[in-house]
């Protein structure tokens, strides 16, 4: 099958690490300074989605698998974290672990089913499975149906840091998201990541080299699901809410759009895309249904004329890897 990334970016290998390092420093500096200028809850939301989009990008950008059901992991992790924090009164770190572990288990089940088919079928299967779990969330007692789980306490991190404080919460979210970001960067540059890229380029040939590609694909899927779950868990604590919006297919569409705008298969693209889309949804919220129209139009435009995405275009212009 053809690759998702049709135009490979020429890279001078020895510069690769340096450009990523410099960009990472800029990103951290911007994110550290941002809460003095921008509303922190907006930033925290964007950060959660940045992690979500990076996790999604791990699959589409580096394995070439388009999951259309990532809301499943984001949303269910968010429900379980909210429930654990509220009903079981678990401290935030344990509530997040409960949510993230749920996403990992769901990732094993959904991934195990979906990798049995390739390409376009993979996308349809993940979408259908996510829709099934949406109906479960709608029906299940503990999710609160249409109301969701509201008033989730943020609690004290390790019994010490009070997350009700905005600054503490922001620092916590920033640290977790950056850790997730670095983990993903480490994964894609590990020997394991190289095999994933080989599968993306030519799965048949990778099989002929003796790699059990199904296992690699499944493991990548579970990693992606788990990190999406981590993002969802954080999101539930930020907004102190878990709701049906988080498991709906529109959420899967949102994360796809973020990654596409930023640049599929780029390290920083999903972060840029997440901030853009969250900002767009924030500022256009008063226009009602036009948000849907604009998002759809951006989708179409990206696919037709802008397939490298913002970061992909910048990287191509500077001939570096970002």
């Amino acid at each position: 099958m053809e690759r998702v990334l049709d135009e490979p970016v020429l890279v001078r290998r020895r510069n690769a690490g340096r450009s990523v390092g410099a960009a990472f420093a800029v990103m951290v500096a911007l994110l550290a300074a941002a809460p003095f200028v921008v509303y922190p809850v907006f930033l925290m939301k964007a950060l959660c989605f940045a992690l979500f989009a990076c996790a999604f990008n791990l699959l589409i950008g580096y394995v070439g698998l388009l999951s259309f059901g990532h809301a499943l992991f984001f949303g269910w992790a968010s429900y379980l974290t909210a429930y654990a924090a509220k009903a079981w009164a678990l401290p935030p770190e344990l509530a997040i672990i409960v949510g993230t572990a749920t996403a990992a288990v769901l990732g094993i089940v959904a991934g195990g089913l979906a990798i049995r088919r390739q390409g376009i079928y993979f996308a349809m299967i993940t979408l259908a499975l996510a829709q099934m779990m949406y109906f479960f969330a709608l029906r299940a007692k503990f999710t609160g149906g249409e109301d969701g789980i509201q008033g989730v306490p943020r609690g004290r991190l390790f019994g010490f840091f009070d997350l009700a404080d905005k600054t503490t919460m922001y620092v916590f979210v920033l640290v977790v998201v950056l850790a997730g970001f670095l983990l993903i960067y480490r994964i894609i540059n590990s020997p394991f990541g190289e095999v994933l890229k080989a599968i993306r380029e030519n799965e048949q040939r990778t099989i002929s080299l003796g790699y059990k590609t199904e296992r690699y694909k499944l493991f990548a899927f579970v990693l992606s699901a788990t990190l999406s779950g981590l993002a969802g868990s954080l999101n539930a604590l930020v907004f102190q809410l878990a709701s049906l919006t988080d498991v709906h297919w529109t959420m899967s569409g949102d994360v796809m759009l973020m990654t596409l705008i930023g640049g599929l298969g780029t390290v920083f693209g999903p972060v840029v895309g997440a901030f853009l889309v969250v900002a767009m949804q924030n500022y256009l919220a008063s226009f009602g249904q036009w948000v849907l129209v604009i998002q759809g139009a951006v989708f179409v435009a990206c696919v037709l004329v802008f397939r490298r995405g913002i970061v992909g275009e910048i990287a191509a212009a500077l001939r570096v890897r970002l």
């Binding site: 049709d6 089913l113 049995r116 376009i120 499975l129 849907l292 759809g296």
Partner: protein, 295 residues
């Protein structure tokens, strides 16, 4: 009135009928998806939106031009099919050489645009569309009451499905189509205009969706979001059936509609999810799908 497995016959056959109706729509929509996929190698996410546009076309024709159900049954698919032709020429044609995933993303974006536009104008609540006078009422079959319009929907959908199957599998034009699916370059060398065939195939698949929309208008209300949830179920139907076979799409569509209807009788909580569960089981047992040839 009598009972089967402790369920009154009225309820059982009523749900069975409802299942057949849903199955008619699953069959028409998955047939359109399969035809388009065969030729363009694109999964048409816009299909649900196009089904919705068909229903709206019927509604608007009646409201603004006084054109009733019967002419709308022909005009709406032609109109919406024409918009499909435009979409293929403007957008999908540019993606031919790319990964099919881009086609999915593009048609998803288009679906968002269309649904958003209709929601802006018509809101989210359903608009009523009357059953045509000649099909009002129904007949009592002894074990159940059969509304005429619903019987008509099942018959028409079956007829259209079988006609499409015949057209593709048994006619000369259909053989060109199948040949072009296998090897477009060779078919072009025989002097057949393959790009035009691709365009018309997309238009035809879209017209099938629009026809389903017109048929659905008197049964469900006409609303902007009527297509988006349905299309996900149809995707599951397509995964279960496999897109390799036209007849497979038709049979799977009707069969799953019936299964869903029966689930509503015996285990109503699961009626929303039963098709997805079946999909998961089929993936475990027969990953290529019931009628699929290759993965």
């Amino acid at each position: 009135m009598f009972e089967i497995f402790g369920i009154p016959s009225q309820a059982l056959f009523g749900q069975l009928l409802l299942g057949l109706i849903n199955g008619s729509f699953y069959a028409l929509l998955s047939l359109g998806l399969a035809v388009i996929f065969g030729m363009l190698n694109v999964i048409n996410f816009t299909h649900g939106a196009q089904y919705m546009m068909g229903a709206f076309a019927a509604y608007l024709l009646l409201q603004h031009a006084g054109i009733g159900y019967w002419p709308a049954l022909v005009i709406a698919p032609l109109l919406i099919g024409a918009t499909g032709v435009v979409i293929e020429r403007l957008f999908l044609r540019r993606l031919r050489k790319l990964d099919p995933l881009y086609g999915l993303m593009l048609t998803f974006g288009l679906a968002l645009v269309i649904e958003g536009l209709f929601r802006n104008v018509y809101g989210s609540s359903g608009l009523p569309y009357q059953v045509p006078e000649s099909l009002e009422g129904g007949r009592n079959l002894g074990f159940m009451f059969l509304p005429n319009y619903r019987a008509w929907v099942i018959v028409l959908s079956l007829a259209v499905c079988l006609a499409t199957w015949y057209g593709i599998e048994r006619t000369r034009l259909g053989s060109y189509l199948r040949a072009a699916t296998e090897n477009p370059v060779l078919v072009r060398a025989f002097g057949i205009n393959v790009p035009r065939m691709v365009t018309l195939t997309y238009g035809f698949g879209v017209a099938l969706a629009a026809l389903a929309g017109v048929m659905a208008a008197p049964i469900y209300n006409v609303s902007p979001q009527m297509g988006s949830d349905l299309i996900i179920v149809v995707f599951a139907v397509v995964v279960i059936g496999g897109m390799g076979s036209i007849m497979g799409a038709i049979v799977t569509g009707f069969a799953l509609g019936v299964v869903e209807g029966l689930t509503k009788v015996f285990f109503p909580e699961a009626s929303n999810t039963v098709i997805f569960v079946i999909m998961a089981i089929v993936l475990l047992v027969r990953p290529a799908g019931l009628f699929g040839r290759t993965g």
